[in-house]
């Protein structure tokens, strides 16, 4: 087939445009990494674009040795792992049971689970309820309210409904109870879907900051994203980040002292951001394998 001049020009323009778009999505991360690895006072002069000019680990070091950041990081890891496993197990079991076509009250139960998607009590009644359950200022506030995700319930249920009945019936013949069947047969053949949902849930847990900001007051219980939000919006909190380096500034080692004096709040902030983004960027290639499938599963239901 002949390609006209116009089409050729369009092809070139298109490639340039999409390249620019792709670059615009990675560049901010490169830029912030460069700032995190550059001496703070030197960065203020500007001119850092792709790589650090005065390379230093001191920003990263100050940040990772800060006890508040360490706590926040551990809380984030803990809520991501516990929350993801809990959500997938509780929601998965519920979805599996609801996928039985002859289950009594099946329709009423589905309506019961669907109504909250249409109407909610709003934030304040939700907050009051959390307080009445004693979840405020508790690590469990990150985990328990999210254990049943209604959207995932719908996606999982429609997936389980498509598992051939013959597989389940054969196991029932052998006298296996539904728990065993779920664990031994349903979970293994649903692995791609479960992996997709787990990864999405994990990323949502890692990225969530609101619950930490409003349902928890105890500093040592705040997850990393809330901590990031705190130092973004609150200059005093950003100053606290430097406390670790204040000790280093008084150090007898002249080189260490000089390096730590060059630390700026901006450089430290960038270092924490890198810390808060890195885990997601590391699992991203893994995620990518599954999420297209995940979107498809969700899309079918839409």
């Amino acid at each position: 087939m002949k390609i006209s001049k116009g089409e050729k020009a369009f092809g070139v323009m298109n490639t340039i445009l999409l390249s620019l778009l792709a670059i615009s999505t990675v560049y901010p991360f490169i830029y912030m990494t460069a700032l995190a690895l550059n001496e703070g006072l030197d960065s203020v002069k500007g001119g850092i674009y792709l790589w650090p000019r005065e390379f230093t680990w001191i920003n990263i070091k100050t940040v990772v040795t800060n006890p508040l950041v360490q706590d926040a990081f551990l809380i984030s890891i803990a809520r991501t792992i516990i929350g993801t496993i809990g959500t997938v197990v509780i929601t998965g079991l519920c979805a599996y049971a609801l996928s039985f076509r002859s289950l009594p009250f099946r329709k009423s139960l589905m309506i019961y689970f669907l109504i909250p998607m249409l109407f909610s009590g709003g934030l304040i009644p939700y907050y009051i309820q959390l307080r009445e359950l004693g979840l405020i200022d508790s690590f469990l506030v990150y985990i328990i309210p999210g254990l049943l995700n209604i959207w995932n319930l719908i996606v999982m249920r429609s997936f389980f409904e498509n598992i051939p009945d013959s597989l389940i019936e054969a196991a029932e013949m052998d006298g296996a109870n539904p728990f065993t069947i779920f664990w031994k047969i349903v979970v293994p053949i649903s692995m791609p879907m479960l992996a997709a949902i787990s990864l999405f849930t994990a990323v949502a847990h890692w990225n969530s900051w609101f619950d930490g900001a409003y349902f928890v007051n105890e500093m040592s219980l705040k997850p990393l994203q809330t901590y990031l939000q705190n130092i973004l919006m609150n200059a005093d909190a950003a100053q606290n980040l430097r406390q670790g380096s204040a000790a280093a500034a008084a150090s007898t080692d002249a080189a260490v002292a000089a390096a730590s004096r060059s630390i700026t709040p901006m450089a430290l902030k960038m270092a924490v951001v890198i810390l808060g983004t890195l885990p997601v960027l590391i699992v991203y290639p893994l995620l990518q394998k599954y999420f297209v499938k995940g979107v498809m599963i969700g899309g079918v239901k839409e």
Binding site: P116, Q129, G175, Y284, E302
Partner: protein, 320 residues
């Protein structure tokens, strides 16, 4: 358990002998494992979705935190005074501004991206562009706020560096009212355009290749093919996505907006969701904040029902 599958017919005979309530209990007993699996989810939804619905009564009560909301006195519609408050209507209009602008720019963007990606013949390049443009979707809004700060900050932001290089004055973008909306719209498109394009790319991939062959036989060039084959082909998907955006008319994006608020941009950056948080959780006016939340919930419900009617009529599908 074993016999149930085999002995279906004798069961029907039994049915006439055994009383119906007993029969029903038997069926429930048969599914006891399933009910056990549902129970935790059932309780969780009751506690975290239905109980807050009961908590809506706070909107009509003189509630204080030292008393239970069940025993607080009823006061009628006093908390709904916000409807006569010009402050609220400014917040309301801010919300509509942001959602409408986000829709106008953010809705066509992924469709255009999908169409452009579809024209790329080099698969490696296509895959790279997809991988990179999906990525921001998985980054938190807090990190996006930091990116915005890193680019726009007055002291060391890249954009200001560029302005100085071009011989212009430095400008404090985050401290201006007129730049707030463009920043919100641009960053939300930047974050979501790639990921939202997936659904359209899938729709394009599902089109029948014979349609294109027929179009080529008819002498249609690439542009004509896009206009007469691709776009009509993905129109059902576009319609569904369009209908799905309707319920979010009052949802300006709390997670995105809140981290970017500051006292200077507050006149344009305060939206309903942030207003509820400020009045309710920060200042402790539970009643009025619940009333505002209830009003938006009801409005949102109407939008969802309306959208559902639309999709039944035009999309031949129902949302629920």
């Amino acid at each position: 358990m074993k016999l149930e599958v085999v002995k279906e017919k004798p069961n029907i005979v039994e049915q006439t002998i055994v009383p119906t309530y007993k029969k029903k209990l038997q069926v429930i007993w048969k599914y006891r494992w399933q009910f056990g699996m549902i129970l935790p989810g059932f309780i969780l939804v009751f506690l975290f979705n239905y109980m807050p619905m009961a908590g809506i009564q706070v909107a009509f009560k003189d509630y204080n935190i030292f008393e239970s909301m069940w025993t607080s006195p009823w006061i009628g519609f006093d908390h709904f005074y916000f409807l006569t408050d010009s402050e609220f209507w400014r917040v309301f209009s801010n919300t509509i501004w942001i959602t409408v602008l986000k829709f106008v720019v953010g809705f066509p963007a992924p469709i255009i991206l999908a169409l452009l990606l579809n024209e790329i013949k080099n698969n490696t390049f296509k895959k790279w562009v997809q991988t990179l443009t999906y990525m921001p979707h998985f980054v938190s809004w807090i990190v996006v706020a930091y990116i915005i700060e890193a680019f726009l900050s007055q002291s060391s932001g890249l954009v200001n560096e560029l302005l100085v290089y071009l011989g212009m004055e430095k400008y404090y973008f985050m401290g201006s009212e007129e730049w707030f909306r463009p920043i919100i719209i641009f960053s939300s498109v930047w974050k979501e355009v790639g990921f939202s394009a997936i659904i359209y790319l899938a729709a394009i991939a599902g089109l029948n290749p014979q349609l294109y062959e027929a179009a080529i036989v008819d002498g249609a060039n690439k542009w004509k093919q896009t206009l007469h084959v691709t776009i009509p082909g993905i129109l059902p998907t576009i319609c569904i996505m369009l209908i799905l955006t309707i319920p979010s008319l009052l949802n300006a994006g709390f997670d995105q907006i809140y981290p970017l608020q500051n006292p200077i941009n507050l006149p344009v950056s305060e939206v309903i969701d942030t207003y509820v948080v400020t009045t309710g959780l920060n200042q402790g006016y539970y009643g009025p904040a619940t009333a505002i939340g209830l009003t938006t919930s009801v409005f949102q419900l109407l939008l969802v029902v309306g959208a559902n009617q639309l999709s039944k009529k035009y999309g031949n599908t129902r949302l629920f």
